[in-house]
């Protein structure tokens, strides 16, 4: 009897394991027999007429979790599926390191999605170098109208070969957020497009003398916004994105001088007293609570400020005052993510047209305007936003971008996380004089040179 029971239990276990193993097969994406995984073929052919049935696309994006466009994305794919009869297998996830690792790993294993919305900076280098995504030029050979509503120069060319591989949706800008009540209490004018860096230093001194913290920034955790603008002050929109070859060349000197200015900010006491031990969240709270006057951050912070205050009209955003050849109206901004079509899907006659159709749908003027709202876009016609629906802070952001005389991408996007360590993580030692600025920059460049 017991033997029988043991056999039954064993059988049940084996059966359940087998069932578990097969459970995903029902949802497995349709794989085409003609898929040429890892193909480096550059000769493009138009998609053959689909067999007639609906196509299933595997799609991965960062529109998930806390992303403000997660809802818009779900609505959009539901509408596209209904319109076309095609199906989307969505594997979107929040933009975290684990997501990046999963995408890179999928490409390595040959199980990449058909379409993905992903970063276009150094994060995309592994699969661009491997030829696993299709360039815009190649797609246009077959579909000449593809992404023609976008400015080619703003699409976010790959650092690998300078070609466009992705179609961007919404980008970012960085600006100087201002707490108006602190400025009023300190008796100072809010910086404008004409304010110079030297005048800004005088403004900060007045804010400090009035008993407030001039600048809300954590140099321990997030020094990169001030890093960008401080070195930008010694460069121009045309030269900001060129990495120094050595610490002694023109760009290397600009980096050293810019970081020296960050040290001056610290030494003059313009930063929170605990800037070397506070988190970014803590210093942001100083700004919201009316204890700090200025904050450099990105367009994504508009929503953060809106949700953190009951008086959004107390906040505005303006240009970060400039120095030397950089005008104050030269801003940092760009489009750091976009829609890619993978080589695997492109070479699949059943999927090629559906991929192009899907991305065209997701990057139409109407859809991009909906996703972008106040952030930067590459649309030739600009965004169509109803300003009456926006907060005064969001409108100030739009005005700032509209009045910009130049825009450069964040140069940190060209430097890998590992290479950033000597300068970004070493910032507390740099501003306190424990580490030499030129040595830190040289160490960063050495890591860049080593390909890390």
């Amino acid at each position: 009897m017991k033997k029988m029971l043991a056999m039954l239990l064993t059988g049940a276990m084996v059966f359940s394991l087998a069932a578990c193993g097969n459970s995903s097969s029902g949802n497995a994406p349709a794989q085409s027999g003609s898929s040429s995984e890892g193909s480096s073929s550059t000769e493009s052919k138009p998609a053959e007429e689909p067999a007639g049935g609906p196509v299933t696309l595997n799609v991965t994006t960062t529109y998930a979790g806390e992303d403000t466009n997660a809802g818009n994305y779900q609505d959009a794919i539901a509408a596209w599926q209904e319109e076309t009869g095609n199906k989307i297998n969505d594997a979107s996830a929040s933009s975290a390191e684990t997501f990046k690792a999963r995408v890179i790993s999928d490409f390595e294993m040959g199980s990449e999605p058909d379409v993905l919305f992903y970063f276009n900076g150094v994060d995309s280098n592994p699969f661009v170098e491997a030829g696993k995504v299709v360039s815009i030029d190649e797609i246009r050979e077959v579909y000449p109208d593809y992404a023609m509503n976008m400015k080619d120069g703003m699409m976010g060319a790959s650092p690998v070969d300078g070609k466009n591989y992705s179609v961007p949706v919404n980008g970012y800008w960085e600006g100087l957020f201002v707490n108006k009540s602190v400025c009023e209490a300190a008796g100072i004018e809010i910086p404008t497009a004409d304010t110079t860096w030297e005048e800004f230093m005088e403004i900060c001194q007045k804010v400090k003398d009035a008993g407030y913290t001039p600048i809300a920034a954590s140099f321990a955790e997030i020094p990169h916004y001030w890093f960008e603008f401080c070195i930008y002050n010694y460069l121009t929109p045309a030269t900001h994105n060129i990495l120094p070859e050595s610490v002694d060349d023109e760009h290397g000197k600009a980096w050293v001088d810019g970081i020296s200015d960050m040290k001056v900010l610290y030494e003059k006491g313009f930063l929170p007293e605990n800037t070397l031990s506070a988190t970014d969240g803590e210093t942001f709270q100083l700004f919201i609570d009316g204890k700090a006057a200025f904050l450099i951050d990105g367009s994504w912070k508009v929503g953060g400020i809106e949700s953190s205050t009951d008086d959004i009209d107390n906040f505005t955003v303006t240009y970060v005052p400039g120095k030397n050849d950089r005008k104050s109206t030269d801003i940092i901004g760009g489009l750091s993510s976009g829609w890619y079509i993978t080589r695997k899907a492109w070479d699949d006659p059943e999927k090629q047209k559906a991929c192009v159709d899907f991305i065209s749908y997701m990057t139409s003027d109407e859809m991009v305007s909906k996703f972008a709202s106040v952030s930067a876009t590459a649309l030739k016609n600009g965004v169509q936003v109803d300003e009456s629906q926006l907060s005064s802070l969001a409108v100030a952001g739009l005005d700032m971008v509209e009045g910009a005389t130049g825009m450069a991408g964040a140069v940190q996007d060209q430097v890998t996380q590992e290479a950033r360590v000597p300068v970004f993580n070493g910032m507390p030692d740099i501003v306190t004089g424990k580490a030499d600025i030129a040595t830190a920059v040289a160490d960063l460049l050495a890591l860049v040179e080593a390909g890390q």
Binding site: K2, K100, I104, S105, E108, L276, S277, E418, N425, Q452
Partner: protein, 295 residues
């Protein structure tokens, strides 16, 4: 009634194999792969290696040169000491006191155990507010008592203490429960006999409770020390990236930082090998120090 099922070991092996296979696939294979990875060049999580390091043991040489590793090792040793004294010491005192009361034992068991069920990330955020520089709970209390200058509890001078307090506090209840269960297993007859012989309360604790609790304390000691080697979540929430000025690194947080923040995956693998070696050596030492006795 005898049955062949107990003599025939084949079904037992059959049932053990899945668990072993699971461990082999998800623990032993990744561990061996991790050792291999520590000799390779890997610049992204998920990406394959770009060849071997030059020399192949470069990461292990770097471990000896890296000042942050030294900081992490020293801090981890401090954390072990804080764990033994803070977690285990306080838990023993609390357990002995609660064991001596007749009413309310269940209440105190629940109260002291409660921090264990709260996620470490939530505790990290909670203590961030307690130790906040501007209008944190402690600084507000100090202001109430007349202090005029704010104290930065997260600066270089206070950071380690600020980190150890919540870590210690979180696990006191865990050891308290184990110890009080051990105390409950001691026969009341022994205490009654000692009382009749005129033993004071302290003598009963000294000569009955503590000796009979020795093996339980040893088990708790091993758990506490090995737990201190792995502590990660709460320190990372309160002091990300070794803030301030690389002074709060622990071996766990430093390994995570290199894997997920700086993307130096191969060096992170080398650190994890170091952690395993450290864990094995420490466990041996702890087992020797907290040697269990046969009664």
């Amino acid at each position: 009634m005898s049955s062949n099922i107990y003599k025939n070991k084949k079904p037992v092996i059959f049932f053990l194999v899945p668990a072993f296979a699971f461990l082999a696939v998800f623990l032993y294979y990744p561990f061996l792969q991790n050792i291999l990875n520590s000799f390779r060049v890997i610049n992204n999580l998920g990406s394959s290696a770009k060849g071997w390091n030059d020399p192949w043991f470069a990461n292990y040489v770097e471990l000896f040169k890296d000042a942050n590793i030294r900081t992490a090792l020293v801090n981890t040793l401090k954390m072990i000491a804080a764990t033994i004294v803070g977690q285990l010491g306080i838990a023993i005192v609390l357990a002995l006191m609660v064991d001596n009361i007749k009413k309310g034992q269940k209440f105190f068991r629940t109260v002291y155990f409660f921090p264990i069920v709260i996620a470490a990330t939530a505790l990290g955020l909670l203590f961030n507010i307690v130790f906040l520089y501007d209008k944190g709970m402690l600084n507000q209390l100090r202001e109430m008592f007349g202090a005029v200058k704010l104290v930065d509890f997260k600066d270089n001078a206070h950071a380690m203490l600020t980190m150890m307090i919540p870590v210690t506090w979180q696990y006191v209840g865990f050891y308290f429960i184990i110890l009080i269960t051990g105390l409950n297993n001691i026969s009341d007859d022994l205490y009654e006999a000692a009382t009749i012989d005129g033993a004071s309360k302290w003598q009963r604790v000294r000569y009955i409770s503590l000796p009979l609790l020795h093996n339980v304390i040893c088990t708790c000691g091993v758990l506490a020390v090995t737990g201190a080697l792995k502590v990660f979540d709460l320190p990372w929430i309160m002091f990300p990236k070794g803030m301030p000025s690389n002074s709060t690194w622990l071996t766990g947080t430093y390994m995570y930082y290199h894997a997920f923040e700086s993307h130096n995956v191969d060096y992170s693998s080398a650190i994890s090998v170091l952690i395993v070696v450290l864990g094995v050596v420490t466990a041996k030492i702890v087992n020797a120090v907290f040697k269990e006795k046969d009664y």
